[in-house]
């Protein structure tokens, strides 16, 4: 299982948002850190095939990002996304399960499992418009996991979760990382510190650090602040 990002570039007119990134991902959890505007979301969108790169390619075990088979093994939780306010939580998951190609029985089973996993079983028949921010975020996490993805891309997934939920979610990501490639971005350094097998730091469209927690000298938060000192100040 290998996700290959080869010289991936995104350019808007004269602005280079992602600059020739070449990375190889295998099973594990990859934590992506970077300040706002570093290019994290653009990079993730290109991995998910919803944004076409200016140059370069993304492939998973020989499948190009534009292929249906690639999308069949992908799970994505965007940073800021919407819901169908008139749908119930269960309907929302069943709809996305159909979109992800799950058979009806499989979809029903998986939906119930995930509702349980994200503690939404009791609210499954309620309209999404009545959900709190945290409940919506949990529903978003559930939809990303519907198809048991081999590639799971999570853009700031812990936003809106309370501390208890965050811990639960971190444990879940850690578990998923054993069989899948999990790439997740966050501003919360402690999230990365706990679960990321590999840390990627992005600045101005480039990876400025790639390594394990052990390779970071000293405290990760301090290292992060040091790396991005110019932008933070």
């Amino acid at each position: 299982m290998e996700l290959i990002v080869d010289r991936l570039t995104k350019r808007y007119k004269n602005k280079l948002v992602v600059d020739r990134l070449s990375l190889h991902f295998k099973e594990g959890v990859y934590g992506l850190l970077g300040a706002n505007g570093a290019g994290k979301t653009t990079f993730m969108r290109m991995i998910c095939g919803i944004l076409t790169p200016s140059e370069g390619s993304v492939t998973f075990d020989g499948l190009d990002v534009t292929q249906e088979e690639y999308r069949a093994v992908l799970g994505y939780l965007p940073q800021d996304f919407g819901y169908y306010p008139h749908f119930t939580g269960r309907d929302f998951l069943l709809y996305l399960a159909a979109l992800k190609g799950l058979k009806k029985q499989q979809a029903v089973r998986r939906t119930e499992e995930l509702l349980e996993l994200v503690s939404l079983t009791g609210a499954a028949e309620k309209k999404i418009r009545t959900y709190s921010g945290g409940m919506k975020q949990r529903l978003g996490i559930a939809q990303a996991l519907l198809n048991d993805p081999k590639i799971l891309v999570l853009d700031e997934p812990t936003t809106g979760l309370d501390p208890k939920e965050r811990v639960k979610f971190r444990n879940l990501i850690e578990r998923l990382g054993k069989d899948s490639i999990v790439i997740f971005s966050t501003h919360i350094v402690s999230d990365i510190e706990h679960i990321a097998d590999k840390i990627l730091m992005m600045r101005e469209g480039k990876i400025v650090f790639s390594g394990t927690k052990e390779e970071v000298e000293g405290d990760l938060e301090e290292f992060y602040l040091e790396t991005f000192s110019e932008e933070i100040s």
């Binding site: 996305l96 159909a98 992800k100």
Partner: protein, 401 residues
């Protein structure tokens, strides 16, 4: 296929739960039912005094019309008509409309009278089978010669004219006349087009505005089956709305006038037309065009909103086209443009305009009238718009949020 059916069901649910669908739908429904009821409301007054209600009038006309139905409009019937109408000749309507003579002896022939007046307007004492059909022929020739059509087209219509059998047979066909007039199929098309402009412009656009597009486009079927499911769902909702209004219109007309006269020749009501068609055939043709035009307008609106990335923009374009097709007349000298202009839904469904236009579309020796050509033309446009829309949809990029 099963996944497609599931996606289709959810897409229909999304469309039907949207306020931009059910609010205009219920408004249109109330308006349409009210309009349907108005033809039986009200009354006829003569010099300020009540004469009869519209419902009573239609009941009497129907009863009289059905008595005459099936009779040839020949010298025998025309003599009866002349004898009856001679009893009120030279008098003002105010003098005779209340009289028993008019109600019992003259009024039963009012159906024949309106045909004669519609065809020729010749004086009562001159009406014979010979003068009537000669006057009609003169009107037909005049129309053909002054329609600005080619010799080949004139020859085509002359041939059509030769196929007509005279004397015509009288048929009471008020329901079908109503349905093929601007109050029937045409009105349904107009109202459904408004509905489509408001409702269908959000089918794709709402996914972008509420930021659900990211989830859809990265899913397995998000760029393939989902597009088709959305298009089919939009068509389905449009058809349901169209058929509801269509059903109400039909039920209202049949309740008021019955379903008689399906086979009545159109010449009874449009004397100078040479097409060998019955009012029922025209109704069926118009219904096919109505369905196809609604489907085409719906798909066009959906695709346009995706192309423009704006539901308001798509709505504006569709509404401007609707108004323009009603208000703008292209001079016949600009033949190609004006002929294609007459193929717009609200023009082709106008009985005395696009539908009975004498200009033809010719492919070698095959000549098609506007109403024969339009269904194929709409199907072609439909396929074209669907393919174009798929390209636009699949190339969508999620950026800049």
């Amino acid at each position: 296929m099963r996944e497609f059916a599931t996606l289709f069901t959810y897409e229909v649910k999304k469309i039907s739960q949207s306020k931009s669908t059910w609010v205009p739908f219920f408004l249109l429904l109330v308006l349409f039912i009210f309009i349907q009821c108005t033809f039986s409301m009200g009354a006829v007054y003569l010099e300020g005094e009540f004469l009869e209600t519209h419902a009573q009038r239609e009941k009497i006309e129907r009863k009289n019309g059905l008595k005459l139905s099936g009779r040839k409009i020949d010298d025998r019937l025309l003599n009866e008509y002349k004898t009856a109408y001679a009893k009120v000749a030279g008098k003002e309507p105010t003098e005779y409309l209340r009289s028993e003579v008019y109600q019992k002896e003259v009024r039963p022939y009012s159906g024949v009278d309106s045909i004669i007046q519609g065809i020729t307007g010749i004086a009562l004492n001159e009406v014979t089978e010979d003068t009537l059909y000669r006057a009609r022929s003169a009107a037909v020739d005049y129309k053909r010669e002054h329609s600005g059509i080619s010799q080949e087209e004139k020859a085509y219509w002359l041939k059509q004219e030769e196929k007509l059998k005279t004397p015509f047979t009288y048929q009471y066909a008020q329901s079908w006349i109503y349905l093929i007039s601007m109050e029937g199929v045409y009105r349904i098309c107009l109202l459904v087009s408004f509905f489509i402009a408001v409702s269908m412009s959000g089918v794709f656009f709402n996914e972008h505005s509420q930021k659900t597009d990211q989830l859809l486009l990265c899913s397995r079927f998000g760029r393939t089956r989902l597009y088709r499911a959305k298009i089919v769902a939009g068509i389905f909702v449009t058809l349901v709305v169209t058929l509801i209004l269509y059903g109400i219109s039909l039920a209202g007309a049949f309740f008021m006038w019955g379903a008689d006269g399906f086979h009545a020749a159109i010449q009874l009501f449009m004397g100078d037309y040479s097409g060998n068609l019955s009012v029922g055939q025209i109704f069926i043709s118009m219904s096919v065009i109505l369905i196809l035009s609604c489907v085409l307008t719906a798909v066009f609106t959906m695709v346009l909103s995706e192309l423009l990335r704006s539901n308001i923009g798509a709505m504006a374009v569709v509404l401007v086209m609707l108004f323009a097709s009603r208000l703008v007349q292209i001079p016949a000298e600009l033949r190609i443009i004006s002929q294609f202009w007459s193929f717009l839904p609200l023009n082709i469904l106008k009985l005395d305009f696009g539908f009975t236009d004498y200009r033809l579309i010719s492919f070698g020796n095959v000549h098609l009238t506007g109403w024969q050509f339009v269904p194929f033309f709409y199907l072609f446009l439909l396929a074209l718009v669907i393919c174009l829309g798929e390209k636009v949809y699949c190339r969508f990029q999620v950026q800049g949020r």
